[in-house]
């Protein structure tokens, strides 16, 4: 498969770009909800529009009423989300949770997916247990209790947890904290007794929670996939999420870079446009190269995921790391090349910097994924 978008995908990209540029624009969404101190950090109306556009069903199979598309298509929407800094539950609901649910029973899918398709429901995922992403180690426990399970533990960085109707929780049903086997994924409804969340606002104005599970009782049918066989579902979910986050990061990088290059063509100092200074030209050209390479890595990872290739895991790690590095460079150069105005809240470039921080931390930063690349390569 060639590493560029086919005609259908190009059409989707146009649609997503136009939609996000209008409806998802920074002033209309990010700043609006931020300045209102909105407890969700995003607009439910926009989420409904996502559903009307069909975006929320991209990764839902046709049998379940979705579009049955792939990670390439989800990434197309995410790149536009990144470019416009559009706050939405797309990544956690329509990519992460949808991928996990896709591996669940017909009952589970029937219970949760219609809400996603209509834009009425929001989902979150609870994997991390400390300040750094480390899904190798899961200490949250689920013990057999009657026909179901009793969950105890704590999770953090549960993005949009407080807005979610259902949270996908990774818990240990057997084995030691760092065992590969013995994990199980659960679809936990928001009103489950014993579930409590502390919401925190993050640097990018998005909302996340610290989540506690205190003897949360769940039916057996809340299990996604196999009991003790959750690692496979978890990996599938995380890889889709990481490829998605990488696509969003490429959007953040592209948006930030374009804004910066435009500024270089407008701002005058020493009687010249600052874009005439070779010191800045070279940095901008280097940045362009890095962003292009990141974009290539991301589409390669998406395609391999969609093909079910065994090389997908490695390339997803590459993509998440590279996109994080490129976007990090884009926002840092962006603020610096804007000078003083880059430090003002009024100007958007700083918003890119904040979003990049949160996004690159989400599901593993560049160090985490470079380490994955080393491990998967055998060193």
């Amino acid at each position: 498969m060639p590493l560029y978008h086919n005609d259908d995908q190009a059409l989707l990209a146009d649609t997503a770009s136009q939609f996000m540029g209008e409806e998802g624009a920074i002033a209309k969404q990010l700043r609006h909800w931020r300045d209102k101190d909105c407890p969700d950090g995003f607009g439910h109306e926009l989420w409904k529009q996502f559903a009307e556009m069909g975006f929320t069903g991209i990764l839902v199979s046709e049998d379940d009423g979705g579009l049955g598309m792939g990670n390439v298509e989800a990434g197309i929407v995410l790149e536009q989300i990144g470019r416009n800094l559009t706050p939405s539950p797309f990544l956690s609901s329509a990519v992460l949770a949808a991928t996990a649910l896709g591996k669940g029973s017909a009952d589970l899918r029937g219970r949760w997916l219609p809400g996603l398709l209509s834009g009425d429901s929001v989902f979150a995922v609870a994997v991390d247990e400390g300040p750094k992403h480390n899904p190798q180690k899961i200490t949250t426990r689920a013990e057999k209790s009657g026909n179901g399970f009793r969950l105890n533990g704590a999770k953090s960085f549960v993005v949009q947890g407080a807005s979610a109707d259902m949270i996908v929780v990774a818990a240990r049903t057997s084995g030691d904290d760092s065992d590969m086997d013995g994990l199980t994924l659960f679809a936990v409804p928001k009103d489950a007794a014993g579930l409590s969340q502390d919401a925190v606002r993050l640097v990018d104005s998005s909302m996340a929670t610290h989540l506690k599970l205190d003897n949360v009782e769940l039916d057996g049918d809340a299990v996604i996939g196999e009991v003790d066989g959750g690692r496979e579902v978890l990996n599938a979910m995380l890889n889709a999420g990481r490829a998605g986050a990488a696509a969003e990061a490429v959007g953040v990088a592209g948006g930030s870079m374009d804004m910066t290059v435009d500024y270089l063509k407008q701002r005058k100092q020493f009687g010249r446009l600052i874009g005439e200074f070779q010191a800045l030209q070279h940095r901008a050209a280097h940045l362009y190269s890095e962003v292009e390479i990141a974009r290539a890595a991301v589409i390669k990872a998406q395609q391999l995921l969609d093909e079910g290739s065994e090389k997908a895991e490695l390339m997803v790690a590459v993509a998440k790391a590279k996109a994080g590095i490129a976007a990090g460079l884009a926002v840092k150069e962006g603020v610096q090349m804007h000078g003083g105005i880059g430090m003002t809240d009024e100007y958007d470039i700083g918003l890119y910097m904040k979003r990049d921080r949160a996004l690159s931390e989400f599901l593993g930063d560049a160090n985490y994924h470079a380490n994955r690349v080393a491990e998967l390569s055998g060193y």
């Binding site: 060639p2 590493l3 560029y4 290059v261 270089l264 063509k265 010249r272 446009l273 874009g275 005439e276 070779q278 030209q281 070279h282 901008a284 050209a285 280097h286 362009y288 190269s289 890095e290 292009e292 390479i293 990141a294 290539a296 890595a297 589409i299 390669k300 490695l314 390339m315 790690a317 590459v318 993509a319 790391a321 590279k322 590095i325 560049a366 160090n367 994924h369 470079a370 380490n371 690349v373 080393a374 390569s377 055998g378 060193y379």
Partner: protein
Amino acid sequence: MANLEEFRAETRAWLEANCPPEMREPVRDDKDVYWGGRNGSFSSEAQGAWFDACVEKGYTVPAWPKEYGGAGLSPAEAKVLREEMARINARSPLHSFGIWMLGPALLQFGTEGQKKHFLNQIARGEIRWCQGYSEPGSGSDLVSLQTYGEDKGDHWVVNGQKIWTSYADKADWIFCLVRTDKEDKYRGITFMLYDMTTPGVSTKPIKLISGNSPFCETFFDDVKVPKSYGEDIPGFVGEINRGWDVAKYLLGHEREMISGAGNADRLTTIGAAMKRHTGELDPILRAQLAMFDVDALAFSAMGEKFLDEIKVGKAHPAQPNMMKYSGTELNKRRHELMMTAGGSRSLEWDSEVTRGGKPSREWLRTKANSIEGGTSEVMLNVIAKRILDLPGA
């Protein structure tokens, strides 16, 4: 697609039958590379057999049309051949500036007669070419070149000096940028073709920091260059005084080649190999290797994307500059890390275990990657100007 799969099966069978096992071993030193030319000689029987088989099949230049010595493969077929050769680690049968540089220029700008004559010679490895662009006073600012060809009717008399001419001392012919109009900087250069044995041509090898002497100073002292070598075979490419157009086109190719984009599928990671060679890795080095491998794998996806986009005309015309910049900087980093991982062993300059100081010599050689064919700084200038459209660039 079914056809492609058929082609893949055929290619696999052909390679199985024709690529000798020795030609599937990694290249160890200069002897393992065949450059052809009047004085070319094979270092082994297998090398000769592999070369002959490829010439016969058109596989020294698979994508060139059959009438010019190629196999007439479509881009997709050529990719399959590349993949199949990479799969068995087949060596390239022929290294040649004729294939990489002059050929593409002739395919684009040559007359039918030139193509038939020169391209077939190149495909069969009969003539070894060198590139006469740079001069002592004209490097990055190539268009300022001074080597002058005085018009004498049916020929020019060329005087001047080139420098950094790779393999000039081993080449049979030169493609050379010569000023033919002193009044017009850009439209006063002619892209000439001539025999290195012509009286007045002399070369003087220059020793590099790697200890090798792959390039030369090249002197032209009243060299008589014919305007024609026979019917429809002009002694210049394109039009007289419009050689800059050809040179610019060709630089695009050269940049693509040096970037390694064409071998993206062969660009490998190094961390695992370094661990095998050195045992336990220092944790900081391991981290640097991991970061490198991320960049290498991402760049190889970029190479693949770039080639896919070129095929359908989607790539930005200035994108080869970005590929060259990123690819060469990456390669320099690769060799820095390999030297570090190798430790004192990789410092050995002519020992047997290092096969004559291969690690250090290659490390030094890579420093030229970001100079030859346009420096990294010049690449960044071009990206800034042509892709980002920055002012005054």
